[in-house]
Symmetry: C2
Subunit: 319 residues, 2 copies
């Protein structure tokens, strides 16, 4: 079964009634699974995580556009997060039985329909980008809703779908395709931020280290310890076990214990299996052929010290 994840962000994070009216369209959709949604009042923005088959996903995004168009007027919107549209960004992420190329196709179809039905200009970004300076979303969004009125008339910023004029209340929207990103943090049993800082520098792409890894140090005041906080941009090329073992190796020189790890948001089952395979192999074992989510949860707690981790963190739980 072809499964796509879609994470639309809409520009309302304060008015609960409005948010629920928008979410009702999603909650009432029987074909698409709502994984979760989180509203941030400071950002004045809501992030929605959806999974399901690609065609009904596009249908739902088009319906969601209609309700956001009714509910949100960007002329009266303020918030800390940059935004250029009532729905600001719509990324499609291939999860199973779907290539990135096919995902780009669904992003294009989605953008085309949003434009045709509601006359909203759409920009294609990330893997769907048709120009190099549109790969990075912030390049497109620069100037935001307010600046876009002029920017869109610049021949360099003609939208990929639609006329060179923003929708007067909705603005414009970015539609893209990208790889699944794992937010992964490793706990260090110290309040000293230095080891987390040095280890981050050792493993992350920007200062040497592993490709596809973003990392930084963070001090968790409530929990009373530091973390190496990471994004794994390509878990197929740099699996979790490799990062975990390298962090442990680097931590040894600071005499700091690695006491736990956590996944923020969702993770695909095969990302866990791929890493557990390492631990099975070093113990001369084979991965179970029928590997239940329950057993996977047990094993990631045992081998990779995952805490606060349950089956509902695994994408396949929702399928």
């Amino acid at each position: 079964m072809r499964i796509v994840e879609c994470v639309p962000n809409f520009s309302e994070g304060r008015d609960k009634e409005k948010i629920e009216r928008i979410m009702a369209v999603i909650k009432n959709d029987l074909n698409i699974k709502l994984v979760n949604y989180e509203s941030d009042a400071d950002y004045n923005r809501t992030v929605v995580t959806l999974i399901g088959e690609p065609e009904p996903m596009v249908d739902l995004i088009v319906k969601m556009t209609e309700v956001c168009l009714k509910e949100i007027d960007l002329n009266h919107h303020t918030g800390e997060h940059a935004r250029m549209g009532a729905i600001d960004v719509i990324p499609f992420i291939p999860i199973s039985d779907l290539t990135m190329k096919e995902c780009v196709g669904f992003a294009e179809t989605c953008a085309q329909r949003i434009n045709q039905v509601y006359d909203i200009p759409c920009f294609l970004y990330a893997e769907a980008a048709r120009k190099e300076d549109r790969v990075a979303l912030p390049n497109i969004r620069k100037g935001e809703f307010e600046g876009m009125k002029e920017k869109i008339k610049d021949p360099n910023w003609t939208p990929d779908f639609g006329r060179a004029e923003i929708h007067p209340t909705f603005g414009v929207v970015g539609v893209g395709a990208r790889d699944f990103l794992i937010a992964y943090n490793i706990d260090l049993a110290t309040t000293d931020e230095n080891p987390a800082k040095k280890i981050s520098q050792a493993i992350r792409q920007s200062s040497g280290g592993y490709q596809y890894i973003q990392a930084g140090p963070v001090f968790l005041e409530n929990r009373g310890h530091t973390q190496v906080t990471m994004n794994i941009l390509n878990y197929k090329k740099n699996p979790i076990y490799r990062i975990f073992e390298t962090v442990k190796m680097e931590a040894k020189r600071y005499h700091v214990e690695v006491t736990g790890a956590e996944i923020v948001g969702l993770i695909p089952k095969d990302a866990l299996e791929k890493s557990l395979k390492y631990y099975y192999e070093i113990n001369n074992l084979k991965l179970p052929e029928e590997y239940s989510l329950e057993d996977i949860v047990k094993d990631v707690r045992k081998y990779m010290l995952f805490r606060d981790f349950n089956e509902d963190k695994i994408i396949e739980y929702f399928l």
Copy 2:
């Protein structure tokens, strides 16, 4: 003391008398240390490794150009290695008390002098490149001596110094600046090439893994085991210990022992110190303040299993 390494390659690897006449200029130079030179008959090419202060280095390269101009006529040269000049390539590598930018400056001075004195066209490459498609030397060299007669007339391939006409017997030369590269191999106690292949894929830049690392599997028939053979393109960002420990970690899943490691060519002292620091720290020790080359050799044998390694593999031995 500012120290630069220079590794000129000249296009003669068969005629020993010719080679020795060229090398005599270098051997007679009292200011520059000849580390070694290796001629390859199949390649019909000789690689010379020199270290010393940058100004006398440039002087020597200019003198070396004169003797190569006398001794080598590329119209009568054949060999397996691609070449575009009697001296084919002149890379400058910063070793101590010298920035990359300063090294680029010496490459430029060297190219300018070679052109002014002998009317040989020069192309700047690597860090010294002034156009993006001249960063990679093979782009410049494509077409070789024979094709360069026409290629140099293409406005895209105007030389950085000189007229758009090759020297009739010498050809053209690439002058560049680049970082020090460490050729590093790790021994696996198996004849099966699969673990070396899989480990190479795990650690190298081209298939995920660490940045600045090129790696591949190799079977050493005479020694009867396989190796992960590597180039470390930036040892400051990815030190040897990190690669060594990661290879050991990956090797565990194949139940293969890491039994040794070797450096091909030279290595700077600080590359060894940087890695030994890790092992001292995990053992709660501080690096010796006066760390002799003799002690460094002992320690890299002990902690990183270097074999066939002596003081004369360390650049500082020659200073």
